[in-house]
């Protein structure tokens, strides 16, 4: 993975000192509260309900063991012994004190980490496929591109006061695990159909939030070495023309929507034509320099699928079931990419204790070339483990309380922090996730249901991606009570789709029943081996809607509004 050179090192250290000074100037009144707020946000510091929150960048979701250990140390020393992995591959701490943040940033800098631009109206942490460098369907590792953009976007003199936040995602694989179509800019690495040259498809104007939109292609093919100049042109058009009169209409998706993708494309191309590309783009040697850090590790030459692994599977059903859910095929024979579920039944999705961080870091060091990935499903991946080590890893994970066999299944729920932490929330998310997970905790039943993505947001901002959940749950307030809207048929992959609302919102305690009714419709209607989302596509929303609206008549109004 990428290592800082002297420039990166100095840059991050100086940024820490700069933030320390900004805090001091806030305290002495030089900076007003209004002025300080965007400055702290650009360093990942939010004010939540109970405390500050610190969002730490995990660029493109790649972490080394020593970095995760440092996060564990910060969790113990400055927080409450746990952290939360987000859908944007970052880590959040929920209880830091502003007075401690500069010191925390210093500890992060010690392990080449930072909080730069994890919030605020600027170019945010760049995300990428969590199976980068692993997946067999990959054309090129997206991380060198993401790292180049990370550097280019850091403290950008021109694009640090944008109309609104700006999120970029990169994928290099056929199957889109980076949700590039719901980002402000999505980059898909591809081969030019005629010349075979490597470049990007550029997708602009996707996004969720209160106006969910699927991004549109503005460039079919951008040669790889022209990336930064083209991004400069696109960002400039957005910076100048994005709406600043209404915060809810300020994302680039609204600009693209209002002027149309053809007009947006034309304006970007006009600006691009006037730029002096070679004076902006990174030279090929720089691109190579970065790419070299992402060279594959030195795998052992293994004869193919491990016999020991097969034998362990054959004799231990629980192990086999866990492996079925957790193992992703590695392109190297005898290896596996292993997803560790952070969705233990009864726990908050994405939360991880400091002890678990250390346990996972140890496993990465011992079995996975010291490397970890954070997924937008709020799980963690050991990207390169030998199949023959899986059994030992499973045992270690069981000890750490991290061996839930539910990756990709109905209890692998994405949930934002919601009203348990978030100052913008209209309702809670975590207890809803916990209640659904409890309802479906039976292993056999989960496996029988198969892949099903439930995503929960605690308000219209959609941090839990509910619009693109196969089942989406949006927490709102109605008459002073938490109320939940259910959507169906969303999809965040290359078949990106926004879910349809099934009907009026329901109370918190009705949610598990409602989900169960939807799952029952699927089980009754599915063809052999047909996943949930495909059945929804084939039979349409109607039967699900009927089931959703056919609330159990025994359940009456007097049921208390208390959440499970």
């Amino acid at each position: 993975m990428y290592r800082y050179d002297e420039f990166d090192e100095r840059f991050v250290r100086e940024r820490v000192a700069q933030f320390r000074d900004q805090v001091a100037r806030r305290l002495d009144g030089s900076l007003s509260d209004d002025e300080f707020k965007p400055l702290r946000l650009k360093n990942g510091v939010y004010l939540q309900l109970h405390a500050y929150m610190l969002r730490i960048a995990v660029p493109y979701g790649t972490l080394a063991s020593r970095q995760l250990r440092q996060l564990a140390l910060i969790a113990d020393r400055y927080d409450r012994g746990y952290g939360h992995f987000t859908t944007r591959q970052n880590m959040q701490f929920n209880w830091p004190k502003l007075r401690d943040v500069p010191d925390i940033l210093g500890l992060l800098a010690d392990v080449e980490m930072h909080c730069i631009q994890t919030s605020g109206n600027c170019i945010r942490n760049v995300t990428a496929d969590h199976f980068a460098g692993v997946a067999a369907d990959e054309l090129e590792d997206p991380r060198p591109t993401a790292e180049l953009i990370r550097q280019w976007s850091s403290l950008h003199p021109e694009f640090s006061y944008l109309p609104r936040k700006f999120k970029i995602a990169v994928t290099g694989a056929e199957h889109d695990r980076a949700a590039v179509k719901v980002h402000d800019i999505g980059l898909r690495i591809l081969k030019h159909p005629q010349t075979g040259e490597i470049g990007y498809e550029v997708i602009v104007g996707g996004g969720l939030g209160r106006t969910p939109l699927i991004g549109k292609v503005v460039r079919d093919f951008l040669p790889k070495d022209e990336l930064l100049a083209y991004l400069e042109a696109a960002m400039r058009v957005y910076n100048l023309e994005g709406r600043r009169d209404n915060k809810y209409k300020a994302r680039v998706k609204i600009l693209v929507h209002e002027i149309g993708v053809e007009e947006f494309r034309k304006r970007v191309e006009e600006e691009y034509a006037k730029l002096n590309g070679p004076s902006i783009n990174a030279d090929p040697a720089e691109v190579e320099r970065i790419a070299a850090y992402f060279a594959p590790p030195t795998y052992e030459k293994l004869p193919g699928d491990s016999k020991a692994y097969a034998a362990q599977r054959a004799t231990n059903a629980a192990f086999a079931q866990w492996a079925d859910a957790s193992v992703f095929k590695h392109r190297i024979p005898g290896y596996a990419a292993l997803t560790i579920s952070l969705k233990t039944i009864g726990e908050a999705p994405g939360d991880i204790t400091s002890a678990q961080m250390r346990a996972v870091a140890d496993l990465a060091e011992k079995y996975s070339f010291d490397e970890l990935r954070v997924t937008h499903m709020q799980n963690v991946v050991l990207p390169h483990v030998k199949q023959s080590d899986l059994f030992a890893i499973w045992n270690a994970l069981r000890e750490a309380g991290l061996a839930e066999a539910n990756v990709g299944l109905v209890t692998d729920i994405i949930a934002c922090p919601g009203l348990d932490y978030c100052a913008l929330a209209t309702a809670r998310s975590i207890p809803i996730a916990q209640a659904i997970a409890k309802r479906f905790q039976d292993q056999q039943r989960q496996r029988d249901i198969g892949p099903l993505g439930i995503k929960i947001s605690g308000c219209i901002n959609a941090c839990g991606h509910h619009h693109v959940g196969n089942i989406g749950i949006l927490g709102l307030e109605k008459n002073g009570v938490e109320n939940y809207q259910i959507t169906l048929g969303g999809d965040a992959t290359e078949n990106a789709a926004i879910g349809d609302r099934l009907g009026p919102g329901i109370d918190a305690d009705e949610v598990p029943d409602a989900i169960e009714r939807l799952v029952d419709v699927y089980l009754n209607q599915r063809l052999k081996d047909e996943p949930f989302i495909d059945t929804v596509r084939r039979v349409g929303v109607a039967p699900f809607k009927d089931a959703f609206l056919a609330k159990d008549s025994s359940k009456t109004e007097e049921a208390e509004h208390a959440v499970a």
Partner: protein, 179 residues
């Protein structure tokens, strides 16, 4: 209002006026009047203009050769349009004085200079809290930027490139001396 550049406070030589006849010496006129002023001839006044920040660069470009100063407003510090306007003006050949005026804060000073501004005219209300020492200190915080084209050769990418070239030259000369 105060005026400062990268070396500190500087004297204001321009006065804002609706028309040239309203002031002696250097004058900044409103964008709405600049066409008429230019048609009438600026005489020996140095001429500046206050442009709005939602203007298209194409409207200004035909005039830039005859302008000594362009002042770009920052109605609030969070409105970053002025940075892009400045960069466009510089890239497309404007060589006169470029001024950022309004509610910028010290933490934006380096960005403003990198985008091509020469000077900042901060709002009185901001300057009262953020004196000139803070503006100058803000320029020393971050030594190098990553972006090419914003501050000459001081960017990190070009420095890396130069280091690579120097290393290659060294290897070459070593090899040569071995022959």
């Amino acid at each position: 209002m105060p005026l400062l550049d990268r070396s500190g406070l500087k004297a204001e030589t321009f006065a804002r006026a609706e028309n040239l006849s309203d002031a002696a010496g250097d004058v900044i006129v409103p964008w709405a009047n600049v066409q008429a002023v230019l048609e009438a001839g600026a005489g020996n006044h140095r001429l500046g203009v206050d442009i709005p920040n939602n203007i298209s660069i194409d409207e200004i470009l035909p005039l830039v050769d005859r302008l000594d100063l362009i002042s770009v407003p920052f109605p609030s510090f969070s409105d970053g349009r002025g940075f892009s306007l400045a960069k466009q003006l510089r890239d497309r050949g404007y060589r006169g004085v470029l001024r950022a005026q309004g509610k910028l804060i010290t933490d934006q000073f380096a960005y403003a200079l990198a985008c091509g501004f020469d000077e900042v005219e901060p709002a009185d209300e901001v300057f009262a809290r953020q004196p000139v020492e803070q503006w100058l200190a803000a320029l020393t915080r971050i030594t190098n930027v990553y972006q090419r084209g914003y501050d000459g050769a001081a960017n990190i990418l070009d420095q890396r490139r130069a280091a690579r070239a120097a290393k290659a030259a060294q290897v070459e000369s070593k090899e040569a001396s071995h022959v």
